[in-house]
C-alpha cells in the first residue's frame, strides 16, 4: 500500500485511489463540484486543486492517482489562491439569484463560495444566459445556473443507463441539454440531488419550502420492496419532500422517482374519518359507531366465515395486530400476498421467498437469469445494481419472459415455462454461460410466481438453481443465487410473521371464491386495494387503510389508518432486512395508527389484544419471529425445501406492472405520478397498441 504525506502527516492508503480520496482519509477537506464518488472522474471543475511536491503547478486531486511517497499539501497559500481563482471563474457566469433559487441553503456552490471564495466579485461584464431545457415533469431547469460539472451527464449515462443528457457546444457556449426529450428513467429524480448548484431542481417541489424550515425524519420507503433508506422532510402536517439516505447495501444514495415524488399523493384522497355504509351509501360516522358496527357484525360469526387480506404497504406491527385479532376470533383465513403469489405456500423456508443474494451481493455475480420480471419497474434500485455489475464485468443476463429495455444488454431465452424447462435440461447457449459462471444467480419475479402454478414454477426454479450451482450443495460457500423479487414492502414482513392461511385456512383464491359463493361473510382489508373487488360478493368488507382507493370504494366500513410517513412501523425488505420507518407527520383528521385501531376494536369485541403500546407490540413481534429484533441485518436463510411439484401451464410469463408510476394507493393519488404516466407510459402504450 502506498504511503503518502498529506499536510505533513504520513498515512498509508489503498493503492488505486485518488489523491482526493487520500486527502479525505487523512481528514483534509477538499472542495469539489464535478467529482462524485459513484460517477466516473471528469476533472473539469478544477475546484479540488492541491499542491504536490515536485509538481510545477497545482494538481486536480480528483483525477490524480496516489503514488508511493507523494507529498501533498492542501493548506498552503497557493492552494488557497487556486481555490479562490477557480471559485471566481465559476462565479463569472453564475447568476446572483440565490434568494429565489430552490437550491439555496443546500447548495454546494453557495457553501463553497462562502468557504473558499473571495468576498466580492471583480467582474462587471454581463453574465451569459442559457435557455431552459426540457427534462420531463420531474426536473425543473434553470440552465443559467449550470457550472458544467457534467455530473448529470455522467449519472444519466452510467447509473441510470439512459444516454439522454449531453453537453453541446464548446467554450463559453457550452451547455447541458437533453434535446428537449424527457429523461425516461425511473431514477431521474436523483439528477436533482447530484446537481451541485440550482440548475436542476425538483419541479414538483419548486418554490414550496426552504431546507431550514423542514423537519427531517429518517425513515424507509414502502413504494417497492427494496426498502430504500429515505429522509422525510416535513413542514407542519405536510410531507414536503422525500430524499434518499445513504445505505451502501440497499439503495447506495439513489431512490426511484416513485419513492421521491409520490409524496404528494399523501395529501390527496385521504381517509380522514370513519365511514359506514348506510342504505348503500358511505356516510361519515364516529369511531364509536364504526367500531360498534364492526363488532356487531363479528358477534357470533365463526372464524371460518371471516378472512383478512393485508395489502402492499403494511407495517409488520399492524399485520401482527390483525393476525392476533383474527386468530383470537378463530379465523385462519389470512393472506398477505394480494397479488396471488405462491411463495411461502408450501413451506415457511425463508430462502424460498427472499432475495437471498442480497442487493449488494449482485456485485459478486457473474451471470444472471431473470424469470418473469422487469426489475427496472419492480425494484428500480435492484436493476441499478445489476447495471452496475454489468458495467463492471459485462454480466451476461438471460431473460425468460417479456423483453423490456433494462438499460443493459440481455439475451432473450423465451417467454414462457418451456424456456425454463429447457434451461433445466441444460440446453442452449445460456445454460453453458450459467454452468461456467462461478457465482450465477436467478431472479424470480412475481410474473412467474403470482399465478396458479406458481408453486410448481418455484420448485422448477429451485431445481434450475441447484443444477447450476447457484444455491444448495454445489454453490460456492456463502453464495445463494436464488432470488425472489418481491414487489411489496409488506410482503417479506408478512411472510416472516406468518400472515398466511393456517392449516385449514383459505388463501387468496380461497377467500375470493368463498366470498363469491357466500361462504365468507366478512373480509378485512388491511390496505389491500389490488384484489378483484367484484369477487367479494355479498361479504361485509372492512377497509382499514389510508387512501380512498378500490378497497374503500367497496367497503362497508372504513377505518382510517396511517400512511407510511405517519406511523412508526417495521418493514422487512426483499432481502429480509428489518428496518424501521418513523413517524414524520401525524395522520390527518381522525385517522389513527393502524395497530391502535385493532387494539381498540379488540376491546369492543371483548377480546383485548395483549399490548397497550408500541413497545409491547414490538416485543410480541420479536416473540413471533426473533428476526424482527435484529435491525438492519440480513440473516442468510438456510437452503431448505420449498415449492411444490405440480401441473404447470404453458402460458407465457406476464409482467405484473404495466405502469411503474402507479402501483399503490399513494402513487395512484399523486398528481405528479399521474403526470409521469401521461408523459412516459401512455405514449408507449399507444405505440404498442395495448391501450384499450
Amino acid at each position: 500500500m502506498p504511503k503518502v504525506t498529506i499536510d505533513g502527516r504520513e498515512i498509508e492508503v489503498p493503492a488505486g485511489i485518488t489523491v482526493l480520496q487520500a486527502c479525505e482519509m487523512a481528514g483534509a477537506e477538499i472542495p469539489r463540484f464535478c467529482y462524485h464518488e459513484r460517477l466516473s472522474i471528469a476533472g473539469n471543475c478544477r475546484m479540488c486543486l492541491v499542491e504536490m511536491e515536485r509538481a510545477p503547478k497545482p494538481i486536480a486531486s480528483c483525477a490524480m492517482p496516489v503514488g508511493d511517497g507523494m507529498v501533498i499539501r492542501t493548506d498552503t497559500p497557493t492552494v488557497e489562491k487556486a481555490r479562490n481563482g477557480v471559485m471566481e471563474f465559476l462565479l463569472i457566469n453564475h447568476p446572483l439569484d440565490c434568494p429565489i433559487c430552490d437550491q439555496g441553503g443546500e447548495c454546494d456552490l453557495q457553501d463553497q463560495a462562502m468557504a473558499y471564495g473571495y468576498d466580492r466579485s471583480r467582474y462587471e461584464e454581463n453574465k451569459r444566459a442559457v435557455s431552459e431545457k426540457y427534462m420531463g415533469p420531474l426536473i425543473k431547469t434553470i440552465m443559467t445556473r449550470c457550472i458544467q460539472c457534467t455530473r448529470c451527464v455522467r449519472f444519466a449515462t452510467e447509473i441510470a443507463g439512459v444516454e439522454d443528457i449531453g453537453m453541446v457546444n464548446r467554450g463559453e457556449d457550452a451547455e447541458i441539454t437533453t434535446l428537449e426529450r424527457a429523461i425516461d428513467s425511473e431514477l431521474s429524480g436523483n439528477l436533482v440531488d447530484i446537481c451541485p448548484v440550482g440548475a436542476l431542481t425538483s419541479a414538483p417541489y419548486a418554490f414550496t419550502a426552504r431546507p431550514w424550515e423542514l423537519r427531517k425524519t429518517l425513515s424507509v420507503d414502502v413504494m417497492d420492496a427494496v426498502g430504500s433508506n429515505i429522509r422525510v422532510d416535513s413542514r407542519g402536517r405536510e410531507v414536503m419532500r422525500v430524499l434518499p439516505r445513504i445505505h451502501e447495501d440497499v439503495n447506495e444514495e439513489w431512490i426511484s422517482d416513485k419513492t421521491r415524488h409520490a409524496r404528494d399523493g399523501l395529501s390527496r384522497q385521504r381517509l380522514d374519518r370513519p365511514y359506514l355504509r348506510i342504505d348503500g351509501k358511505l356516510r361519515p360516522v364516529s369511531w364509536e359507531e364504526a367500531l360498534t358496527a364492526v363488532a356487531e357484525r363479528l358477534r357470533g360469526l365463526s372464524g371460518e366465515r371471516m378472512a383478512a387480506i393485508a395489502g402492499d404497504l403494511c407495517d409488520a406491527e399492524s399485520m401482527l395486530a390483525l393476525k392476533d385479532f383474527m386468530t383470537g376470533l378463530g379465523s385462519e383465513n389470512l393472506e398477505c400476498r394480494q397479488d396471488g403469489s405462491k411463495v411461502g405456500s408450501d413451506s415457511r423456508a425463508r430462502s424460498g421467498y427472499l432475495f437471498n443474494t442480497t442487493i449488494a451481493g449482485i456485485e459478486q455475480a457473474d451471470a444472471v437469469l431473470l424469470i418473469g420480471t422487469n426489475p427496472r419497474w419492480e425494484a428500480a434500485l435492484v436493476n441499478a445494481r445489476i447495471r452496475k455489475r454489468f458495467l463492471q464485468n459485462g454480466l451476461p443476463v438471460g431473460v425468460i419472459g417479456p423483453q423490456v429495455d433494462l438499460t443493459y444488454e440481455t439475451v432473450s431465452l423465451g417467454d414462457g415455462l418451456d424456456a425454463l424447462q429447457a434451461l433445466g435440461r441444460g440446453e442452449g447457449d445460456f445454460a453453458e454461460v450459467l454452468r461456467k459462471a462461478e457465482r450465477p444467480m436467478l431472479i424470480l419475479g412475481s410474473g412467474a410466481v403470482a399465478r396458479p402454478d406458481g408453486a410448481a414454477i418455484l420448485s422448477l426454479a429451485r431445481e434450475v438453481a441447484e443444477s447450476f450451482g447457484m444455491a444448495g450443495p454445489q454453490a460456492p460457500e456463502e453464495w445463494n443465487g436464488f432470488n425472489v423479487l418481491s414487489r411489496a414492502a409488506s410482503r417479506v414482513g408478512g411472510l416472516d410473521l406468518g400472515f398466511l392461511p393456517g392449516p385449514e385456512g383459505r388463501d387468496l383464491e380461497g377467500i375470493l371464491s368463498g366470498a363469491e359463493q357466500g361462504e365468507i361473510d366478512l373480509v378485512w382489508l388491511l390496505g389491500a386495494d389490488e384484489i378483484d373487488m367484484s369477487r367479494l360478493g355479498r361479504a361485509f368488507v372492512v377497509y382499514q387503510g389510508h387512501h380512498g382507493d378500490a378497497g374503500a370504494h367497496r367497503a362497508d366500513v372504513i377505518l382510517p389508518g396511517a400512511a407510511y410517513t405517519e406511523k412508526n412501523g417495521t418493514y422487512v425488505n426483499l432481502e429480509g432486512r428489518v428496518q424501521l420507518g418513523r413517524l414524520a407527520t401525524f395522520p390527518p383528521g381522525e385517522a389513527r395508527e393502524d395497530w391502535t385501531i385493532l387494539r381498540a376494536l379488540s376491546e369492543v369485541v371483548g377480546q383485548p389484544l395483549p399490548y397497550d403500546n408500541l413497545g409491547e407490540l414490538r416485543q410480541k413481534l420479536i416473540e413471533a419471529n426473533p428476526l424482527f429484533g435484529r435491525l438492519d441485518e440480513v440473516q442468510p436463510a438456510a437452503w431448505e425445501a420449498f415449492g411444490a411439484k405440480g401441473e404447470v401451464s404453458g402460458a407465457p410469463f406476464a409482467l405484473p406492472i404495466d405502469n411503474f408510476y402507479m402501483t399503490d394507493p399513494i402513487s395512484r393519488a399523486s398528481p405528479t405520478m399521474a403526470k409521469c404516466t401521461e408523459i412516459f407510459v401512455l405514449p408507449k402504450r399507444a405505440a404498442t397498441g395495448t391501450e384499450g
Binding site: S131, E163, G166, A174, T178
Partner: protein, 205 residues
C-alpha cells in the same frame, strides 16, 4: 448578455447513398471491433457533404444509429467542432480567415466585400439565391498569402483584395470554378515582387 442555444432546424429524413454507404463501411472497418464509434467524424463529414454542406438532425441521428451511439453523443461532437454546420449553408460556403496575419492584411475588408456580394447582413446567413453563406473562421494556415478565404472546405483563394474576392464570388455564382491559389499569380508563398534570394543556382554543376 450572451445567450447560448443549440437548436438545429427541422429537416427531411436522411440516409447514405449507396456509394457513400460503401465509403462509410470502409471508414468503420478502419477501427477495431467494438470501437466503431471512432469513425464518427469521418461519417459526419460524409453526411455533411451528401447533405449539401450541413448536418440536419435526421443526418446526425442516422450517423448515430449507424454507429450504435446515442444521438446526444453525436450531437455533442457536431456542436463541438466548428467544421460541422448545423444550419443550412450556401452552395458555396465562403470561410474567411480572420486570424492575425490575415486580419493585419485586411481580412475585415474582405469580409465586408463578401457579405456585400452575397447580399447578406451577417455571418452564417444564407444568401437569398442560396448560393452563398459567408463565415469568418480562425487560421487556415495560409498566413504567407494573407488575406485569404476557403470555399467549400476545399479551395483556397489567396492574396485577396476586396475586388478580387467579389470577382471570385461572381464567377462562382455563374457556376464557374475560378483558379484557386494566389490571385496575384505568385507561386505558393514566394515573395510578392518575385524572388529576392536564391535567384540563381550557385556552386553546383
Amino acid at each position: 448578455m450572451k445567450v447560448t442555444t443549440y437548436i438545429p432546424p427541422k429537416a427531411e429524413d436522411f440516409a447514405f447513398t449507396p456509394e457513400n454507404l460503401d465509403k462509410a463501411k470502409g471508414y468503420v472497418a478502419r477501427y477495431p471491433e467494438g470501437r466503431q464509434a471512432s469513425a464518427v467524424i469521418w461519417l459526419l463529414y460524409l453526411a455533411q457533404e451528401q447533405n449539401g454542406g450541413w448536418l440536419s438532425v435526421p443526418a446526425i441521428e442516422y450517423v448515430a444509429s449507424f454507429l450504435g451511439m446515442a444521438p446526444i453523443r453525436v450531437h455533442e461532437v457536431v456542436s463541438f467542432y466548428t467544421m460541422f454546420n448545423t444550419q443550412p449553408v450556401g452552395r458555396h460556403q465562403i470561410q474567411i480567415c480572420r486570424t492575425t496575419s490575415c486580419w493585419l492584411r485586411g481580412s475585415d475588408e474582405i469580409s465586408k466585400a463578401c457579405l456585400e456580394e452575397a447580399g447578406t447582413s451577417r455571418f452564417g446567413e444564407l444568401s437569398e439565391d442560396g448560393a452563398f453563406s459567408v463565415v469568418e473562421v480562425e487560421c487556415l494556415g495560409a498566413c504567407c498569402n494573407a488575406p485569404m478565404f476557403q470555399v467549400n472546405d476545399r479551395d483556397y483563394y489567396e492574396d485577396l483584395t476586396p475586388e478580387k474576392a467579389k470577382e471570385i464570388m461572381r464567377a462562382l455564382r455563374k457556376g464557374e470554378t475560378p483558379a484557386a491559389g494566389s490571385q496575384q499569380g505568385r507561386v505558393s508563398s514566394e515573395p510578392e515582387g518575385g524572388l529576392t534570394t536564391l535567384t540563381e543556382v550557385q556552386g553546383g554543376a
